[in-house]
């Protein structure tokens, strides 16, 4: 019985970790208002999900923020995020399908 309870506590804390790791970092969830989460949407705005996207997201956000890349709205949005936040958003999108 004691062993069962110990195992159960272990399971619950793993489940909590899984749920927590899936939570998008600050700002990330809002991107899909314009960047399609689904491949069935036709849009000139690129999808962000996928393991290859992380480096491109970081570079694009930094370039929009510094002004080396012109945008329509992304130049204004990128200025609201720090390097750490951009890294976290990019890393999270890399884990998305």
């Amino acid at each position: 019985m004691v062993r069962f309870v110990a195992a159960a506590i272990g399971f619950v804390s793993i489940a909590a970790a899984v749920v927590a790791s899936a939570e998008p970092p600050a700002g990330a969830a809002a991107c899909s208002g314009c960047h399609p989460a689904s491949a069935r949407v036709t849009s000139p705005v690129p999808r962000l999900a996928g393991r290859d996207a992380a480096a491109a997201i970081v570079k694009a956000m930094q370039d929009f923020r510094s002004g080396t890349r012109t945008g329509t709205v992304m130049d204004r949005i990128a200025k609201g995020f720090t390097d750490e936040e951009i890294q976290a958003i990019a890393a999270w999108y890399a884990t998305q399908k």
Binding site: I14, V19, S21, E23, A30, S32, A54, T72, K79, G80
Partner: protein, 424 residues
């Protein structure tokens, strides 16, 4: 991040067991996390799906009487004959397919102490967290002469649907040379740039179909969203056709007479052939019933969780909320819904919500191929949502027409994307 995915798969079996276990424990104690959401618009439907995505153990019920949602963004294009209303309409089939229970009725009462919602048929739903996403309600009678009967003569068209079509039919029926009047309310109201996008697209309709006509915007304000961009475009595209009358020049409408389609200001009377009265508004009715509105008629909230400052365990998102610097827009509602869902997913497990960052982007069409935008990034600051310093702003004033055309294309892409995320 490959390893992250592998970790997830490896943990899958253990996680499934843990979910089953926690369900068993929860049901034994009668405490399965139950979230009830009232209102199936951009805010409510987004929140329902985001909650299921955050934690599929949460039981979500969405209370929404209408089988079809009719979206307001782009409804100005319907009024101007550039788009059909069915392009604005969405059903809840995919929402339900996420395992969300849809109660096709109205919520009539909330007992925040007992944590229960009463539905129109008398059913009581218990909740751990309640999310109110009721949008707006017209303040009937706030503008003397403007009641529900008057809206059948002088449509507001500020809740999309039959009113949208009524205003369109009136414009179509008007003879060339007629006077169209729009009255715009004082702040705050749903969609701050909306009246001016509407004025632009009606002006476009008149210019192309009824060029001897005139459009007057009577405004209860001296300043409005994206003002410089709108006014620059108006003088380029619609000179002599569209006149904006600010508060200081007598723009504030003090009463209306529906029978003669007359709008009265302190400075005079305007008898219109077509009159669009955008009236004062407040949070949707259930917010008042639940006791989450303050004297302004809107709902003060915690900026990190969107929990009401007036009632515990009740959250308010979308147009009904007082969201500080965030405007009452569909994009903002979607962004708030996801933030609220993440916070609730943590709160129901006893965890502390994380500090959010939210985004808004609003496009307005000044003509079918001429778009402008405002964007902002927001975070909690001093108990309210404030713009992140240095971020945000409107489209550049001196941009070439190619940029305006690109923003018009992006506007439509935004609508397709966000409605697919919420209803697709």
């Amino acid at each position: 991040m490959k390893s992250g995915r592998r970790e997830f798969l490896k943990l899958g079996v253990a996680a499934t067991a843990a979910v089953a276990l926690s369900r068993a424990r929860a049901s034994a104690q009668g405490t399965a996390a139950r979230v009830v959401i009232v209102g199936g618009g951009f805010a409510g439907a987004s929140c329902a799906r985001a909650l299921r995505q955050a934690d599929s153990r949460i039981a979500v019920t969405l209370v929404e009487p209408s089988p079809t949602f009719t979206a307001c963004p782009f409804s100005n294009a319907v009024i101007a004959g550039l788009r059909e209303l069915r392009a604005q309409q969405f059903t809840y089939e995919r929402v339900a397919a996420d395992g969300i229970v849809i109660a096709r009725t109205t919520a009539t009462a909330v007992d925040a102490q007992a944590r229960s919602v009463t539905l129109a048929d008398g059913t009581r739903l218990s909740y751990d967290r309640l999310v109110l996403a009721p949008g707006i309600e017209i303040r009937w009678g706030a503008l003397p002469g403007y009641d529900q009967a008057a809206a059948a003569q002088m449509p507001h068209a500020w809740q999309a649907g039959e009113q949208t079509l009524l205003l369109r039919r009136q414009l179509e029926a008007m003879d060339d040379g007629g006077l169209v009047v729009i009255s715009a309310p004082a702040n705050p109201f749903r969609c701050p740039p909306g009246p001016y996008e509407r004025a632009s697209l009606i002006a476009h309709y008149l210019k192309t179909k009824k060029p001897k006509s005139k459009l007057i915007v009577l405004d209860a304000k001296d300043a409005f969203s994206k003002q410089r961009l709108f006014q620059q475009a108006w003088s380029d595209l619609y000179p002599g056709l569209l006149e904006w009358v600010p508060l200081s020049k007598g723009g504030s409408v003090t009463s209306v007479d529906a029978a003669t389609r007359t709008l009265v200001t302190d400075f005079g009377r305007h008898q219109a052939k077509v009159a669009n009265v955008i009236p004062p508004q407040k949070a949707g009715r259930i917010a008042d019933v639940a006791g989450v509105t303050d004297r302004s008629g809107w709902c003060p909230i915690d900026p990190a969780t969107f929990e009401s400052k007036l009632q515990p365990s009740v959250h308010v998102i979308g147009d009904a909320a007082i969201a500080g610097a965030m405007p009452k827009s569909a994009f903002a509602a979607n962004s708030q819904a996801k933030t609220c869902a993440a916070a609730i997913a943590r709160l129901v497990t006893g965890a502390v919500p994380s500090a959010p960052k939210l985004i808004n982007t609003c496009y307005s069409l000044v003509a079918p191929d001429y778009g402008i935008s405002v964007a902002g990034v927001y975070q909690p600051s001093g108990g309210q949502l404030a713009e992140v310093p240095g971020s945000g702003g409107v489209s550049p004033a001196d941009a070439p027409r190619a940029t305006r055309a690109a923003e018009a294309v992006l506007a439509e892409a935004w609508f397709r994307t966000i409605t697919d995320e919420i209803f697709g």
